[in-house]
Homo-oligomer: 628 residues x 2
């Protein structure tokens, strides 16, 4: 394979690429982003660049899009032109993509080779067309005239159109001088004309990406024309009133006939997020044309009002793993009357669309190197693989890392202690928003456990070292506990403590997560050091001390730089699927190709779990770098 | 190309076929019809036949469907097994198709080589499945389990499913011992699961074929399991109150804002036909799962409430020629809540789905020989072509052949004189239903003109020969007219007459039709005798005297046996499209490939029209066989 050097002007940024790569791919690798309306199909001409030095042949697309004069000047289509020699390329300003359109993960460290190039091609696009008026020589039907122009502009060849659009088409065209805007939506293998509006309305096209979490529902409002995130908001999942976790909610839905209530709760959540985010940005909910939602399998079932009852019972069978794209109004979501809801596909009963979106968002399925993702919430879901295979599993971690099940635990919101160390025998902490502390969130709890074991206040079994005589260690009703924040520091005036039972819970949680990772790696026949990267997602807030997570035995002991905390990868993936058809297609491929390993009856997992109920682990050889 | 002889038992019917034909095709050519559930995809096993003599290899499909024992006995799949030698085949009783399922035209003379083999595969099928219960080893989702079984049974690979079906799937399966019936509908390139019902409901699956005519709406109720026509009914198009013909109705729709009224009128028509036909056959309208409707372009627009306003104005542009398949309830048609309406695609403003259905139904596009179809109503639409090209045109014929525009004209219903000759100076007629005469329908008028000119009561210019002194010729208010039925014979007690202005109108009508045929044939560069067959469709009732139609110059003077009256070919085509996916696909292909010649500004048509205003024609050389 030959390697060539491409230099982009005016930045003079150079990059080496393999022979046969396109100029667009080279630019992407150089972190320079080029405009693209047709999604790389070589028909829109928006990605024109100028060849300054070197040879890059004018192909059929170039000839169709550019004039002879432009071709003579060296203009080519970046998406169509392959590299077969060293090149110097100028990217003219009109071909530059606004930064917001760049399709990468939430975390900028993910930009680059880990996520393959994803063309900006939202699931719902608005296309303005000016049609030539019909004549006796050209009297094809209105819809054929419309789609002929759409073919020219965005290069798709077959379409579906709703009756409603057709009914208004004739008047829309003739009353507005043959200038209309078509809203085009991609649904699995086909395109549908969703709406036809008079004149040019392309500047107003919005979408929402939603992570439907068991505890929290988080949404981003997106400008689909520019790919820009306009706002983000999160609220408690209102289903909590019917049960704290998915199991309780399934029981409520199935044994107490409560499916509709649970369904309506999540719809209320979404409508509330729509209103808030639309209101804040001065747009009408009716201008939102698409929602992409990702959630675990149970949440996806509740969202679509599908019976979830067989999910929790052996043999753990969901109703569906690939969900139909539906008109959002069909389930009472109040956006555009023609707006659609796309739900990211799941893998199995306990590995949902949130994981599929996460795996897609960090590019695990894009490369030959083996990478892993763990999403830590009430469940820990793990996926490991590369561009040839993907394996996943899920283990119940309990609510400890989300702030449940411990005396002073809380979610990663304002006032939560998210960072902690013990210096000179005294705890030093940092809270979210620098507010007075109200509790400890997941990342704070991890830091806390590490600080306690490191300072020998607790032993490797998680029990307090009763002889140490640390001033922070007190007993209340015989329960040993460590004071993290004294009453005079906290918002409520109550002390914030971590108790021995809390630590016990946390060890069980981290044990389950680690055992799941270990079982999966063993199942594949890998060792930890064969992982190229390991991504950690979850509701830890903005911060996770990777070192400490390794030190308590939650994450495997691999070089710290290989582990990357990526925040809410479900939301990131949903947004990417909203902004790039290709990203949604990848989700579909991932969901179909991922093999789920059922841990519930898997003896090696049970054994690994018991072995992991220790800090960092009963087998110290697994944690060679840990020195406490 | 080698030819082999295949003999079918027990009939001992023999036929010669080309090498490589399938046994199913050979049987079809021998007028023996073989069962077929999967539409020839080799997966259902319903077309098993036994090879008695000769060799026919067991292919992969055969091996998958039959046991070793059956293969040893000589069983093969008729749809998959190619013929490469002389064969003797036994068709066992279970593989025989009930006669009603045979996919041929209305008129039995169309059976045979003119219509290619169309597998019986209704647009909506019910498939009963018994699913294996899930286990830990086989815990795919409910919908995947369902579609796996459907793949096995009917061999289709991807599907869409409505949210509503998904929502009930889990309970439907688990409450009924994993036995359910899926209603599967074909929509353009994809299959959709339309409905899932508990247990086996395959015996109840109905559809309707509708010819939406400007004057009359005719419907057939079809048993989709057996392909049997259960009943037929026709009613006046209720739109008549808003205008007699399509032009007046378009004006009402567009200039008087009456589109919704016209739309609702046709929906009322359809609902009334649904109720009548369902009621008569003791089925519930909710058991009707599909309607296929064919009509002219304007009627199709009214049916779907599409703006028809640009159809009648130059450059004659319809909103659409290919119509979306829609849920019937979307436009208020009361059949199954999940039932669909498919509208046969059109070609141009004045060549609609009725002609496309007609061309398909008589197999014009199936063969290399050139054939023609004329559908005579208020408009005369003509299509000519073969399996490589199709050309069509339309001419306004006026209402004469449908019983309008003449003093005593009427539609082809009870009491209409449909047949007439003048014997010994006296008119002898036959009425529909042998009732007392009430008027004269199209076929009767043609006979009448011929009888008058043949007996020299009128001249070739259509004027009465005032000197002849025929007893039937009278003058009323100076208008010469001929008495067909005297007052004592008729239902009303008024005489039935044909006037000189009536004759003038009829000559204009036949002139327009003939001129259109002539212009089209000339345009293609053919002569009439190059036409292999010429099909005549239209509302003439059950009868049309082809000889007389030629003799008055309505139809070209080609050997009578080449001209076939085929009745309502629009209805036949709609029924075929309902009963065979392939037939609908053919309609789509025909609509896309047919070239429309616009006659309204076409000088050769004008010239041909003027030349045709004579009996039989100003150019006698065009009618060499006519001797009056």
């Amino acid at each position: 394979m030959k390697i060539y050097r491409v230099t982009f002007l005016p930045e003079e940024k150079s990059i080496e690429v393999k022979e046969g790569s396109t100029i667009a791919e080279a630019a992407h690798r150089a972190d320079l982003f080029i405009n693209n309306l047709c999604g790389g199909e070589g028909v829109c001409g928006a990605c024109r660049v100028k060849v300054i030095k070197g040879k890059a042949g004018a192909d059929e697309h170039t000839a169709a899009v550019f004039s002879q004069k432009e071709i003579a000047k060296g203009f080519v289509l970046a998406c169509q032109t392959e590299i077969h020699g060293n090149l110097e390329i100028e990217i003219p300003p009109e071909s530059r993509l606004e930064e917001e359109q760049i399709m990468t993960g939430e975390n900028t460290s993910l930009k680059g080779p880990e996520v393959s190039f994803l063309p900006f091609k939202p699931i719902v696009r608005k296309i303005f067309v000016e049609l030539p008026q019909p004549s006796l020589e050209d009297n094809i039907t209105d819809i054929e005239r419309m789609s002929r122009e759409l073919r020219r502009k965005i290069g798709w060849h077959s379409y579906e159109i709703s009756l409603n659009c057709l009914q208004n088409l004739s008047d829309n065209l003739r009353d507005h001088d043959w200038k209309v805007t078509a809203t085009v939506v991609k649904d699995k293998d086909l395109y549908r004309i969703q709406k036809i509006e008079p004149l040019n309305t392309t500047t107003r096209n919005y979408g929402m990406a939603i992570d439907v979490g068991t505890t929290t529902v988080v949404a981003q409002l997106i400008d689909l024309r520019r790919g820009k995130v306009l706002g983000v908001d999160g609220i408690h999942n209102m289903q909590a009133q019917y049960g704290e976790d998915v199991i309780l909610r399934m029981i409520y839905a199935c044994d107490k006939n409560g499916l509709h209530l649970l369904h309506q709760a999540i719809i209320k959540n979404i409508n509330s997020l729509v209103e808030t985010l639309a209101g804040r940005n001065n747009i009408s909910p009716e201008e939102i044309n698409a929602i992409v939602a990702a959630g675990n399998t149970t949440m996806s079932h509740f969202l679509l009002c599908l019976t979830p009852c067989s999910i929790r019972l052996e043999p753990y069978v969901p109703t569906a793993d690939i969900y139909p794209q539906i008109p959002a109004k069909e389930i009472g979501i109040r956006i555009s009357p023609q707006g659609i809801l796309e739900t990211v596909p799941s893998v199995a009963s306990y590995v949902g669309g949130d994981i599929v979106a996460g795996v897609m968002s960090c590019g695990i399925a894009d490369h030959s190197e083996v990478r892993g993702l763990i999403d830590i919430g009430t469940n820990g879901e793990i996926a490991i693989g590369n561009n040839e295979w993907l394996v996943c599993c899920s283990a119940s971690a309990g609510p400890a890392f989300e702030g449940g099940g411990t005396r002073c635990g809380m979610r990663a919101t304002k006032g939560a202690i998210e960072k902690l160390e013990i210096l000179d025998g005294k705890p030093k902490y940092q809270t979210i928003g620098n507010a007075s502390p109200r509790g400890v969130c997941g990342s704070g709890l991890i830091d806390c456990i590490y600080a306690l074991v490191k300072n020998r206040i607790i032993g490797s079994d998680g029990k307090f070292n009763r002889e140490i005589g640390d001033a922070g260690l007190i007993f209340e009703d015989g329960v040993p506990q460590y004071i993290i924040a004294h009453p005079d520091e906290t918002e409520t005036g109550d002390p914030i403590v971590i108790t021995e039972p809390d630590i016990d819970n946390l060890i069980k949680s981290k044990g389950a997560v680690f055992a799941a990772i270990k079982s999966l790696v063993d199942y594949i026949g890998l060792s930890f050091d064969q992982l190229e990267s390991f991504y950690v997602a979850g509701g830890f807030g903005n911060y996770l001390n990777i070192n400490n997570a390794i030190a308590i035995g939650l994450l495997p002991d691999i070089p710290q730089e290989k582990i990357k905390f990526i925040g809410n990868s479900s939301l990131t993936g949903a947004r990417m699927a909203l902004l790039s058809e290709k990203a949604y297609e990848k989700c579909l491929t991932i969901s179909k190709s991922m093999t789920n390993i059922e841990l519930s009856n898997y003896q090696p997992f049970m054994d690994a779990y018991v072995a992991a109920l220790f800090l960092p682990h009963t087998d110290r050889k697994l944690f060679p770098s840990i020195d406490y």
